[in-house]
Amino acid sequence: MGLEKFKASLATHDLVQDLKWSPELREEFAANEAAVLDRYPLRKDERHAIETRNFLALYDLGLHPYLGGQFARLIFGNEAGKGATVAVNKLVESLQGKGSVA
């Protein structure tokens, strides 16, 4: 799975960038994810894929894989050898066919 499904206009790209760039937004996302998602023009299936941690579905919708990897770290952990490893393994599990890894 590479860049062939990439869809530049997908709203999730902005969500991931904003989470990376704002500690305050990350706090809010952790405490009240729905309120954050409400502020982005997500498609219904796109939002459902986020809520169910279905990276496979997000990639099928056009999420850039590099931002997909970062989204996994934003959700599952970002520390070298610890949370970041969990995030990689969850992501790979989803992409290799499991779909939802909530």
Binding site: M1, G2, L3, F6, A8, S9, L10, H13, D14, Q17, K20, W21, P23, H64, P65, Y66, L67, G68, G69, Q70, A72, R73, N78, E79, A80, G81, G83, A84, V88, L91, V92, L95, Q96
Partner: protein, 291 residues
């Protein structure tokens, strides 16, 4: 005319810092030897400025407004950016910038028909700049740096031929626009094979990596431009391996010269093949460019 006195290519995988201690001894040996050799050569080159080309990794711009090349014009470059700190596991650093060279680069590339963008505020650096800065002791050496973050992963991606053209213009800019006695170092930061965020996240294409290292060390740029296609790099690790285009920019600037590498290693936890190349910039080396 200013002179390119140092040219190298090296990976920047975050694990090279955060996960190095836990790596097997033979892996550590290659990593330490590679970056120590590159650092020693950089110190010996007595460069006045270091220009680093590296994959931006979608760190600074939205997908909707994504530049192919973004020059850092700040007087000081600080990193890593806040969110990347635990992921890289490195210390904070500050590197002196060169707003004058950065501005001249921006003007010089614009004049030569190369669209670049430039930002006076501190860029957001992840492993792209942080790893080589720390492992080659740029921060400690005091050499001013001009970072240029490039698009290696957001389609449409400037391919190997375009990046080589950009490198040619960079070489012309250095030789013709910079002060006559200036000594310039160039570093291409990125690679080797890896697939960050992909279904093959742990995949490392050892055969590709060894082929690539041998090819760029050979100085055969016709072969490089014919065979180092985006398709080939994507097959060797989608969304990651193509950051070797940063090396191609450097090669376009220096023309065909032999290089030497300091070994190659793979380590699953790095999720990236590791090997660097230092090109021979001694003044008596002939400079040949691919057409």
């Amino acid at each position: 005319m200013a002179e390119i006195v140092y040219a190298a290519g090296a990976p920047h995988a975050p694990g090279l810092i955060g996960l190095l201690e836990a790596a097997p001894a033979d892996v550590k040996d290659v990593v330490i030897n590679t970056y120590r050799s590159l650092a020693d050569a950089m110190a010996s080159a007595r460069a006045d400025v270091l220009i680093v080309f590296a994959n931006d990794h979608l760190a600074n711009s939205r997908v909707r407004t994504y530049p192919d090349f973004l020059i850092g014009m700040a007087a000081e470059h600080r990193g890593p950016y806040e969110w990347f700190k635990p992921w890289i596991g490195c210390e904070d650093y500050t590197v002196k910038g060169s707003p004058e060279v950065a501005a001249a680069l921006f003007d010089g590339m614009t004049k030569r028909g190369i669209r670049m963008f430039a930002q006076t505020e501190n860029l957001k650096f992840d492993d792209n700049i942080s790893v080589p800065v720390l492992l080659t002791n740029v921060a400690g050496s005091g050499i001013p740096m001009v970072p240029v973050l490039q698009n290696c992963t957001v389609p449409p991606i400037p391919d190997q031929r375009r990046c080589y053209e950009v490198g040619k213009a960079l070489g012309d800019f250095i030789r013709d626009d910079l002060p006559a006695d200036m000594r310039v170092a160039l570093l291409g930061s990125g690679g080797l094979s890896h697939e960050p965020g992909g279904a093959r996240y742990y995949f490392i294409d050892e055969e590709f990596d060894r082929w690539f290292l041998e090819l760029v060390a050979s100085g055969d740029h016709e072969k490089l431009l014919n065979e180092l296609t985006l398709e080939k790099m994507e097959a060797a690790g989608s969304g990651g391996t193509a950051e070797l285009l940063a090396w191609v920019v450097v090669l376009g600037a220096i023309g065909s010269k032999p290089g030497r590498s300091f070994g190659y290693t793979v380590h699953k936890d790095f999720k990236c093949g590791v090997g660097g190349v230092l090109w021979d910039m001694s003044p008596n080396m002939p400079k040949l460019r691919a057409a």
